[in-house]
Amino acid sequence: MIRQVANPFAPALAQKIFHYRWLLYELVSRDLKLRYRGSVLGFAWTLLNPLLFMAVYTLVFGVYLRFGIHNYPVFLMSGIMAWQWFATGMQIGTSSIIDGRMYVGKTVFPAELLVIVPVLSNCVNFAFSLPFLIAIVFLFHQHLGAPLLLLPVLMLAQALLMTGLLFFFATLNVFFRDLQQLVQVVLTLLFFLIPIFYAPDVIPAFARSFVLANPIAVLIIGYQHIFYYNDFPNVASLAYVFIVATVLVAAGYAMFAHYREALGEYL
């Protein structure tokens, strides 16, 4: 009924999202529902997972190796929650078009929604676990303040960044299914390369600029600023992330739009 000519620019994406907002809502809630359907602990897994991480990492890096980070659990949790959103979203998102093969090419389904859904559903997960994070902050007598106002900006930047990347990955993954494995490996590596469980100042100076050129590293450090240092994230680097993310979304969506027809044929 709605015949939208594929327009390889992000505003078209925005229009589409707005037009299909109810469907998007339905799909995100379906995604959340299905994830926990049939599991006993349900949403608790979203909290349990980083909690276990926290316990182990605190033991290893706080007690054994003595990183010397004060209130290490707070530091770790402030970064790892957002990382979990990123990693899970990227992993599921990369195979999202393949997993949605019952829709793509068989009904008048806007396949871009499939890509956006894992970003949003994991964002919701992240949002739900925020009270838990805040509780931990207060448990260790740390403070939260005005920097918290920038949290939505960070989240928006992260959502955009993920969406942009996923348009590339999800589209390419239809044609090259190895990409799924590749993304998995890269995510594991990134977890260690990005200052999530260690502070950025342990990175030697020559490597630091490389690490900080990574938008997701910038975002993680941003979260740490808000929740651990009670400090405003670096605005310039945030702006940098936004620019990168916007370019990625535009380019990724253009590529997706270019291959949209072929997706149905391949699936």
């Binding site: 009924m1 109810w22 019952m102 009904t107 008048v108 389904f109 299914r177 149905g264 044929e265």
Partner: protein, 549 residues
Amino acid sequence: MSAISAVDVVKRFRHLALPKQTTLKETIVKRLLGGSRNRRSIEAIAGVSFSVRPGQVLGIVGRNGSGKTTLLRLLSGVYAPDEGRIEISGTLAPLLSLAAGFHPDLSGRENARIELMILGFSPKQIQQRMDQIIDFAEIGEFVDAPVRTYSSGMMMRLAFAAAVSVDPDVLLLDEVLAVGDAAFAEKCLACVDDFRKRGKTIVLVTHSTQLVRERCDVAMWLDRGKVAAFGDPVEVTDAYYQAAKESERSEVAVQKRKAPLRTIVVFGNCQAEALANIIKKDVLVQSRFRVVYYPDYETPGQARETPTPEELNASALLFSQHGPDPFPYFDQLPKECLMVRFPSVDLNLLWPFNCVNPYNRPKPEFDWGPFPYGDRIILECVEKDMPPDEILEYYLTGWPRYKPDLNRLGQLERARLETRDGHCDLKMAPWVMEHFRNRRLFWTVNHPAQIVLREVLQRLIHASASVDPDLQDADLEETQRVYFPAGEQLSIANIPIHPKLAEELQLEWYNPHQSFEVFGKVYSYEEYFRRMIDYCVSERAAAAITAPA
């Protein structure tokens, strides 16, 4: 003003020519090696133009792969045309394929919600329609069960109900009415009629020409991506039907020409050869089978005939006198080849032998002498031109005149059996063979061999029915009439003989005044003869084989 208009629509599939699962490595390696990117495109729709007025029902027919579904997907907007344009005025609801758009883990209700949301409805609008959908689909409490638990009929009910609830201006239906029970199909058709009355447009892809004739205003016959005919439903479906029939006929003809005749392998001694010759004469058999006789003995001075591999491959039936296993090429027979076995002793029981001329035996270890009976009795019968009943009588009562030495007969037979392997010991007299060929011998007595023959033929017909879809019931009836005039139904092809029974027969051969004790029962010869025949064709025979000795 048309509801649907398509102008010179072309849709190519570029990617289908590529292997479906490509890996990054393969692609990189191919690029590096400079291999050509094999991108042949397939024109699924090759320049289709048509228009449908509002309120018309368009029926699309065509063979599988002719592009019907692709065209419907183009109309629905799932695909965009590579060339040409499609215009649709008003809202559109496609019902493209059953499971498409249904997530197996979600409930029917959730899937219907998503389905409607795909079509652009808000939750509020969906809420209004949900009850209607559930009512129409009639799937009861299943509406809240995961769709993976649905039958295809239920899936179709839900999909149809959801599509109809949209109340679109244009409804696209792809072969969905074929699923589901008659009652629901009727409901769907009533719904289609209702749509039509209200001036809505429907496009219906179907294989049912009847449906097109009854419900459609216009019809399109799609052939290899092109419109072969468009217009009056009756004319279009007629043309389609004729063409389909013709191509089917030519295909069948091509297949027939290609398919070699199936083989019937007959394996055994001269008795089997006689049967083979009779089977060969059958017209029905001739049209479908090549009968190959393969002797189980060697004729001195002659090369042994062997079946060719082609004949063996095409075997539909092995008719073996001595069981299937001794057949030297048994392993080369196809699995579906049927086997009919009859033990030699059955035939020998009453078979008229001419053993006067056992020729060229290299080392006679036994003085064969003449067989004093059998063929002579038959000869008398034939010369007197007796009717079959009398021959039976004569045969059963007349042979003692020849005063056979029963002990000697038993020794003869045993010697024959012992020395048979690798040698020709017996040859049926040519005149006996002649009578076999003329079938007269088989009408002389109700001979087990005759029963075997009937059985073989019946098996043949069944075997050929399973390999030959052309075989009509009338052919079967005709065969039944010719070979089974009394209407017998025979059920055992593998006629069993208990070893103990065979042993007793050898010892007490052909004495009408002697009674037989078999399995604890006493029979006169004639009784025994009758019972033997019954026995050969009865279910009990199968049971007897496992009876305690």
